[in-house]
Point group: C2
């Protein structure tokens, strides 16, 4: 038992994990095994250990639940209404994560836990206030994707420009003009053409490109905006 002079809330981390699955934007959800909300779908997460930072806690929980090590992770916001958990006062630090479903396989159904990918547009009923967290995460993603190169976190190392465009269209929920899009994305100077082309497609093969992370890290230092 742990004793304190004043009451302390519990602190959890919960992550909204985005991934691109079949050209659809999806989120990873876990089915709860315990009360409260037993059987309901919920964001992956858990309690912060006393010796780990918040980022580390988020990483650990995701590692445990998805098996993925390399993912994009960023703190979103902290949710702390007094009654958001019926058991005790629980404050949750929410994260946005992006996993690359091309390069890594996610153990969606792990040992003990049932997990699954759900379309962002119509998720199932979620436990706690997780639907609010999802809304905030989607909002952040849509805002940030326009001036930071987050799209490449979703895509394989080598991708076609059509893939990039479709992803932007999916996230932003609006169509983009092909020529203008290609002008912009190539105008950044960070999306570099390879001498490789698609194979085994029943139409003209698309060229592969890669994202020059080094150039971005240098230029993002001062002033440079990605901006699509």
């Amino acid at each position: 038992m742990y004793q304190y002079e004043y009451p302390h809330p519990a602190v959890t981390v919960d992550s909204v994990v985005f991934g691109l699955d079949n050209e659809e934007l999806k989120i990873l959800l876990i089915r709860r095994k315990l009360e409260p909300f037993k059987g309901a779908w919920a964001l992956p997460g858990g309690f912060v250990q006393m010796d780990e930072s918040l980022d580390d806690a988020a990483k650990r929980e995701l590692m445990e639940e998805t098996g993925v090590e390399k993912l994009y992770l960023e703190q979103l916001a902290t949710f702390g209404k007094p009654d958001r958990d019926p058991r005790e006062r629980v404050i949750t630090v929410a994260y946005v994560a992006i996993v690359n479903l091309f390069d890594h396989t996610v153990k969606a159904d792990s040992d003990a836990e049932e997990a699954g990918w759900f379309p962002v547009e119509d998720p199932p009923e979620l436990a706690f206030d997780h639907i609010k967290i999802l809304a905030a995460a989607l909002n952040r993603l849509q805002g940030k994707i326009r001036y930071q190169p987050l799209v490449f976190e979703f895509l394989p190392e080598k991708f076609t420009l059509s893939q990039v465009q479709k992803l932007y269209e999916t996230v932003l929920c609006r169509p983009l003009d092909k020529r203008n899009f290609r002008k912009k994305i190539q105008g950044t100077g960070m999306v570099i053409p390879l001498d490789e082309y698609e194979m085994d497609v029943s139409h003209r093969a698309a060229r592969f490109y890669y994202f020059d992370r080094k150039a971005w890290e240098e230029k993002s230092g001062e002033g440079f905006h990605f901006s699509i």
Copy 2:
């Protein structure tokens, strides 16, 4: 005494309170009366009560420490490195606040606590990791002021365009062209001229304007960007 089956961190809220004092951007700091960091300057804040939301906690602490009710308040980020407080594990939810030092007087030196306004550029040594929180807050302010009308939170109801421009220049740390600035700010349609002019100035009297909050709230709903 309060008992828990698992260890719980303490949770505080700390606010970076910005204000415009003599055309300088300043932050409000409190001198600590207790260990640790006794005597050092720190961000105003305190423990979250079990029956209040995080926003309410931030508001309450600021009300207690500054006496100001009407202020702009927005959650910034949560800081939770395990060793950021030497006593016990303390996770702090940081807020950015803006107080209007024209319309409200802040009880900078209150009963028990010594408080003061310090230039953002060279603050004193701060307790805990508060210098990091300050850096993050300044970053947020500089970013957000360019596409949201935060400036008017600093200024009196009726202001001159020169005041607005000087404030932008102060926050962004760069000079702006007067004519282009005035074109843009008037182009928003939300900064409305009054038929009042400065009095008792030893030069041409400047016209007063006000910010049309209603128009902003309507237009900010969809798509409109303030953008300076």
